[in-house]
Assembly symmetry: C2
Homo-oligomer: 368 residues x 2
C-alpha cells in the first residue's frame, strides 16, 4: 500500500528529523532488494553490501563499521573499541551458551586488533516471559567467562519487549582494550610472502549449533570451540623482535575461514593461496558438514584466529602459539601472493587449484 | 512440563559450561517472579532488583552494571564506557526516530559521567523483511546525530533474525569518552546542601511516543526533546573554579525525574527535597499526562539532565547552562538535605509535603 507520494506504509512519518526519505539514496543492487533478508546478517557478500552501500555512506567517513574493532587515540596511547550482538539459536548448545559466546566473541574482536581487553559492556534485550532462571544461568556464565578472560563486565543495560517481539534473549557486548606500542595490525597490512597461520581445528562452533538445532546425532558430540584468544595474541606478539611482524589477525566467525581470507585478500589487494590438505578439519566436523551439505571452510568458529605473518618470523610465532592450549593445533595453511589480487585460491589434494568464493548470504543463520 | 530432575523445559541442557542450574541461586523476591515481565526493563524497582540480585552477583565485584557509565584508567588518563539498547516502539515519532535516540542517549550517558565522547559503536538486530529504506533513513539519522554531536560511529555489527523473532529493528550503541582531569561525578557524591538543577522542560519524550502510539491528538504536537548534552556539561564544568563542585549528573530517561532523584538519594544516603512548583512541566505535557493517567515526573526525557551542585557555585553553573540552547530552561528545583536519607520528598503548591516513590515497573514500556 502506497501513499500519494509513492511511499510505502512503513516510511510515512519518517521525515521526523529533517531527513526526507526521498533524499535517501542507496546504490543498486541494495535498493533493489527492498527488504532485509537473513543473508544481510551472514558475514558474506550481502553483509558487505549493506555496510558499504548503506552504513558507511550514512555514518560518514570517520572510520566506519567495516572492521571488527576501531582504534582510537587517547592520552598518547591507543584503545580499541568493538561491538557485537548475539542472537544465537538455541541459547544453550554443546560446550557453551550465548553468555560465554558474547564474552569471548568481543574479547576476540579486541584481540584481533592486537588489544588487551580492559572492560566489557553487556546490553540485554529480553522477551517478556523469559524464565528468570535462564537469564540467571546465562549471566553467571558471562561472569565466569569474563573472569577467565581476566576482564570485568563494567556496565550494562536491560530492555524488555513484549511476548513475540523478540526471541527469548539477545545480548550485545561492546569492549574496550589497550593497544600496546608498536602493534599495528589490520587487514590492509597483508603482504605478498606472508605465511597464513590458523590456530587450530576449524568448523566446530557451527557444527555444534547445527547438531542441536537440527536434532541430528553424529555419533560423537561436536562442542563449540568458544574461547578467549587475547593471551594467545599476546604470546604471538611477544615471540617476535618487532610486533609489526604480525600483519593481520582475524577471528573467522560468520562466514568461516573463507570470509576472513577473502576479506583480507580484498582489503590488502593481495592474492591468498591456501593448501587445502593442511587446513585442520576434524573428521567429526567433516562428516557432519558432508551430511548437512555445508562447506567446513565457511562454517563459523568462536575460538580460532587466522594470522598473516612475516615469513621470516612465522616459525617463532608458530612455536609461541603451540605453547598455549588455545593454539596447540596451530599450522601454516598457506601464503599471500602477488598473483590474483583480491582472490583466494585453494590447492586441492589432487594438486589442482580452485577459486574459493564467499557465500552470498550465509549457510547458517543465527549461529552467533 | 518438567523433567525428572524437576527442571523446566527451557533450562534443560543448561549445564553446558560447568554451571549447573541447580547451583544458581537468586535471592527472593526475584526468584519468586520466575519469569521476566515488562517492568524488569522499566528503570524502576524491578529493574534495580534484577541488577542487584541477578546481574551483580553473576558478574562479580568489578564495578558491575549499576551505573550508566563505568570509568576505567588508561595510560594515566581515564575513559568512560557505556552501553544502551534501544527498542522504542514506534521507530518514528514526532521530532525524531530510534536512530538519533540511540546516538544522543549514549552521548548523554557519557556526558553524565563528565566525559566527552570520542567514539560510538552501533549494533543492529534486524527482523527479516524490514524495509531497506527504513534502515537507510534510520542509519542516516544516526550519522547526522553523530556529526552534530561531533563524535564518530567507528565500528558496528549487524545481525538478522527471522520474521517474528524481533520487532523490526533494535539498536545497541556503546560509547567511549575521555574524563577530564579533576572531574569526579557520581551519584554517591551528592551532599546535604547541594542545589538540585534540572536543565529544562520535562516529560516531552515520553508524551511524544505515547501520542503516536495511542493515536491521540492533544491539539498541539509534543515532540521528543532528544538532544546531546555533552557540550552543556562541558560548559557547566568550565563555569566553576574546580570541576569537583559539580557532584552528580544524571539524564532522567526511563522512570523520569523521580527515578533519577530516588537513585541519587539512595546511593548518596541523602534526602532530596523537590519544590514541585518549580519543576518545569509544559502545559501540553501536563494535560497529556492527565489524560493518559501518567505522572509527568516519572515520564522519560532524552535531552535533559539533573545536576547536584555545591550551593556556593550553583548560580555560576545555572548561568552557564542558560547560555546554551539545550540548557536555556535550567532552574533550581530543590536541594539535598540531611533529613530522611534515601528518600525524595516533594513540597506541593499547597505547602504540604509528600513522599515521592518510584514505580514498581514502568508506566510506559518501550519508550527508548
Amino acid at each position: 500500500m502506497s501513499d500519494p507520494a509513492g511511499r510505502s506504509e512503513a516510511t510515512r512519518g519518517m521525515d521526523t528529523v529533517g531527513i526526507d526519505p526521498s533524499d535517501w539514496f542507496c546504490p543498486l543492487p541494495l535498493r533493489e532488494t527492498k527488504r532485509i533478508v537473513l543473508g544481510h546478517g551472514g558475514g558474506g557478500i550481502l553483509s558487505e553490501e549493506l555496510i558499504e552501500n548503506l552504513f558507511l555512506p550514512a555514518f560518514g567517513s570517520a572510520g566506519g563499521p567495516s572492521r571488527d574493532s576501531a582504534v582510537l587515540a587517547v592520552d598518547g596511547g591507543r584503545i580499541a573499541l568493538t561491538t557485537d550482538s548475539y542472537v544465537v539459536n538455541p541459547l544453550f548448545f554443546p560446550g557453551g551458551n550465548i553468555g560465554d559466546l558474547a564474552v569471548n566473541g568481543t574479547v576476540n574482536d579486541l584481540a584481533c586488533s592486537g588489544a588487551q581487553p580492559i572492560g566489557l559492556t553487556a546490553g540485554f534485550i529480553l522477551e517478556e516471559g523469559l524464565e528468570v532462571e535462564v537469564l540467571g544461568v546465562i549471566a553467571q556464565t558471562m561472569g565466569k567467562a569474563a573472569a577467565e578472560a581476566g576482564v570485568g563486565i563494567v556496565t550494562g543495560d536491560t530492555k524488555v519487549v513484549g511476548r513475540g517481539s523478540a526471541d527469548g534473549l539477545f545480548i550485545n557486548t561492546a569492549g574496550v582494550g589497550v593497544v600496546p606500542d608498536g602493534v599495528r595490525i589490520g587487514p590492509e597490512l597483508a603482504r605478498p610472502g606472508d605465511h597464513v597461520i590458523v590456530s587450530g581445528n576449524i568448523g566446530e562452533h557451527g557444527v555444534a549449533i547445527m547438531s542441536v538445532r537440527e536434532g541430528i546425532d553424529f555419533g560423537t558430540t561436536v562442542t563449540t570451540d568458544s574461547a578467549p584468544l587475547h593471551q594467545l595474541v599476546a604470546a604471538m606478539l611477544a615471540a617476535v623482535p618487532d610486533p609489526g611482524a604480525v600483519h593481520v589477525l582475524r577471528d573467522p566467525t560468520r562466514g568461516g575461514l573463507v570470509a576472513s581470507a577473502v576479506e583480507i585478500a580484498r582489503t590488502a589487494g593481495v592474492g591468498v593461496e591456501l593448501d587445502e590438505q593442511r587446513i585442520p578439519v576434524p573428521d567429526t566436523v567433516a562428516s557432519a558438514c558432508s551430511f548437512l551439505g555445508l562447506d567446513p571452510l565457511q562454517v563459523a568458529n568462536e575460538g580460532k584466529l587466522v594470522a598473516f605473518v612475516d615469513p621470516a618470523h612465522s616459525d617463532a610465532v608458530l612455536a609461541a602459539m603451540r605453547s598455549r592450549p588455545e593454539g596447540a593445533g596451530a599450522v601454516v595453511i598457506g601464503r599471500a601472493v602477488e598473483e590474483h589480487p583480491g582472490m583466494v585460491v585453494g590447492r586441492t589434494p589432487f594438486g589442482t587449484t580452485r577459486v574459493i568464493e564467499r557465500e552470498l548470504g550465509e549457510q547458517l543463520p543465527r549461529i552467533c
